[in-house]
């Protein structure tokens, strides 16, 4: 008999409220119905009522972990409309900070997946090592999370030599820890038991459902905005796009761990040939008429910002599409067929950042009444959609 289990919105496995209504019969998941909108803040509407400079700090707070990716994307779009060129040193600093944020994000994610699997030691260790990156980010930008380093026209703080030397020490430790976790996750039988063959996403489905980031790269498709559409200093820095073709959570772990090692080498290369010069270009307050699309490879995947300006100092339209929203349809596909025990591991597999995924409508949903789960007209949205395919 099929029981309907609400996975979320309040659930120990979820850091943020999202609701998957899973139809389950004896441990097998039959269908999943996502429901977002629980922490919706209407950032896009608010962005239209603020100047570009104030928007920077609004866009930065879309997501706590990948805030730098959002701000880089937004400022690049506005710079494109203004068609100004930021100084090369600012490009390198943006690349360095983007890669440090990727390292910090992947360590956090590793701990989260470990916690979902019940492997609390991995959670404690990886969050301890994340402190190394956060300390470095604090020395560079003065803040651990929303760094407020980025502005339209460049970067607000320069990287001084003392910071570089502490950066190098930190990178060696991070590299050694990432290698250690790769060895643990590849050899530990319980970890493999819970991740190999779990949450499978075949390459065709990944392409069809427009998956992004490590989720699609773990299904063997090498799609990475840093290589396809290089921004900041990525066209001058040699790096490798990491793909695994295991299509399951185990290969997603491996992709992210390799990306940490790749980010370490990118930062080292960027630090060695950091061009000198100033880090910021003065920018007029009014942005001329025009529109721009900018893409950035956030730690979770391809991040898109669309800005349309009409000559005043407030944007007409700011469209933000965060990587997690693109990964939710593939996630529903992955969950079907697995067992209940796999749901948290698979959900954590795509590293959901719900705060990113839903920031379009206006009202926060404090008035959301309790979801009465025995609503008869609950349409099996995923079921109907699969029958159609």
């Amino acid at each position: 008999m099929a029981i309907r289990i609400p996975f979320g919105p309040q659930h120990p496995a979820l850091k943020e409220p999202i609701n998957f209504m899973c139809e389950v019969s004896d441990e097998k998941v039959l269908s999943v119905r996502p429901r977002l909108g629980y922490i919706h803040r209407g950032i896009e509407r608010l962005a239209e009522e603020r100047t570009y400079n104030q928007d920077l700090y609004l866009i930065e707070r879309i997501c706590g972990i990948c805030s730098f990716a959002h701000v880089t994307c937004f400022s690049q779009a506005v710079e494109e409309v203004l068609n100004i060129e930021i100084p090369p040193r600012a490009k390198y600093i943006r690349t360095i900070l983007a890669e440090m944020e990727r390292i910090q994000n992947h360590f956090l994610w590793l701990g989260d997946v470990g916690h979902e699997m019940g492997f609390n030691t991995l959670f404690m260790y990886s969050w301890r090592d994340r402190e190394v990156v956060l300390r470095l980010l604090e020395t560079i930008s003065g803040k651990r999370v929303n760094y407020a380093m980025n502005t339209i026209g460049g970067v607000r703080r320069d990287i001084t030599p003392t910071v570089i030397e502490s950066l190098e020490r930190g990178l060696d430790r991070l590299e050694e820890r990432a290698k250690y976790y790769k060895e643990v996750c590849a050899k530990d039988p319980t970890v493999l038991g819970r991740t190999v063959g779990v949450g499978v996403l075949s390459p065709i489905d990944a392409l069809d459902l427009c998956a992004v980031g490590p989720t699609i790269r773990a299904s063997g498709i090498s799609r990475d905005v840093r290589a396809d559409d290089p921004y900041a200093a990525y066209n001058e820095i040699p790096f490798r796009v990491i793909t695994y073709d295991g299509c399951d959570v185990a290969s997603r772990i491996m992709v992210r761990l390799d990306e940490i090692l790749e980010s370490v080498s990118i930062i080292r290369y960027a630090l060695d040939n950091l061009p000198n010069g100033d880090v910021r270009v003065r920018v007029p307050r009014r942005v001329p008429e025009g529109e721009a699309v900018s893409l950035v490879e956030a730690p979770r995947g391809e991040n898109l910002h669309y800005v349309r300006a009409d000559g005043t100092e407030k944007p007409v339209r700011v469209k933000v599409r965060a990587p997690t929203l693109a990964n939710i349809p593939p996630l529903c596909k992955m969950l079907v067929g697995g067992s209940i025990a796999d749901i948290p591991v698979v959900v954590a597999g795509i590293d959901p950042c719900i705060a990113c995924a839903e920031r379009v409508a206006f009202v926060d949903t404090a008035t959301e009444k309790r979801w009465v789960w025995n609503k008869e007209e609950l349409r099996g949205y995923a079921k109907k959609w699969y029958q159609k395919k």
Binding site: P12, G118, Y125, D188, P344
Partner: protein, 316 residues
């Protein structure tokens, strides 16, 4: 009242009896939490008492003070009996295990069978508790408790029979006395020792086997709707089971309170109990959680044949 009865009454209530067991339960939970914290590079409980030793006691009284909600859709009588039943069942076998000298408070031929049947009863009581609270998560948790018991029950019983056969007695105290010659069964039957440890870990629902209360999947498993005093009793029962598992391992395989020259044998029992808890917390910090089908498949495919092999080795 002849002093003889008073002494036994005192023994039942005070020394190797209730009070000592309460202290032992809280102490073992503290040791477990501190060791796992140490493994994970953090402090663990700190502020209640010296080095946080009173934290389990504090948690217990805090829960007693909390509101005790009985959800409407539950079967009320069973729902309130289960915590008391589980606590009683997990405390009872402790009286059959020799802790302070070579024979337990009350021991008779065949008390090993009593212990094993009581451990099965505990699981059935948990299943009743899960079924009484009709919450979705607890029904699934209850099913998992039952499934897991089917998995580890057979290998555990076989692993416990091993020492009984070689010591030709079915009473725990008898087994302990037969190890007096210094040759503990852990050395003569290492395989049985390992299997007993894994199955006891599964019985305790500690991490690699904490599938029934996997908090990231089904919130708190079968205990999800218990609160206040009921939850306090259930958590206390879990501590007693930890002591039970530890002392079973100690008495069956590590020679119980057999000490060489120290004045009081209970000190030795204490030391070995801490070693067992060390092993449990080490395993707890080391593994990720298994899925229910992996637990069953692992138990039937590996543990049971190995346990049988151990019996064959013991018999020849």
């Amino acid at each position: 009242m002849v002093p003889e009865e008073i002494v036994t009454l005192l023994q039942i209530f005070l020394f190797p009896g209730f009070l000592f067991l309460f202290f032992l339960a809280f102490f073992s939970e503290w040791v477990d939490r501190k060791l796992v914290a140490k493994f994970q590079n953090r402090y663990g409980p700190l502020y209640t008492g010296p080095k946080g030793i009173l934290q389990p006691v504090a948690d217990f009284f805090k829960l007693l003070a909390k509101e005790d909600i009985i959800p409407t859709a539950t079967d009320k009588t069973v729902f309130s009996i289960v915590p008391i039943l589980v606590l009683a069942l997990s405390m009872a076998p402790l009286f059959l295990i020799p802790m302070i000298d070579f024979s337990a408070l009350v021991w008779f031929e065949g008390d090993l069978i009593v212990i094993m049947s009581i451990t099965t009863l505990v699981i059935i009581a948990m299943f009743m508790g899960a079924w009484a609270s009709t919450d979705r998560f607890s029904t699934i948790g209850g099913m998992r408790v039952g499934l897991q018991m089917l998995g580890y029950e057979i290998p555990m019983t076989i692993a416990m029979i091993g020492p009984a056969i070689s010591s030709k007695s079915l009473s725990v105290s008898g087994i302990v006395q037969s190890q007096a010659g210094g040759l503990w069964y852990a050395i003569t039957q290492p395989l049985g020792f390992a299997i007993a440890m894994i199955c006891l870990l599964a019985h305790l629902q500690k991490v690699p086997f904490d599938v029934p209360e996997a908090e990231s999947e089904i919130v708190a498993g079968w205990m999800v709707e218990f609160s206040g005093k009921k939850l306090a009793l259930l958590r206390l029962a879990k501590n007693f089971e930890l002591v039970l598992a530890g002392s079973l391992l100690v008495s069956l395989y590590l020679g119980g309170p057999l000490g060489f020259w120290l004045p009081h044998p209970s000190f030795y029992f204490f030391l070995k109990l801490i070693v067992c808890i060390f092993i449990f917390s080490n395993l707890r910090a080391l593994f990720a959680r298994f899925r229910i089908d992996q637990v069953l498949m692992g138990a039937w495919k590996y543990l049971t044949p190995l346990a049988l092999l151990q019996i064959i080795l013991v018999v020849i």
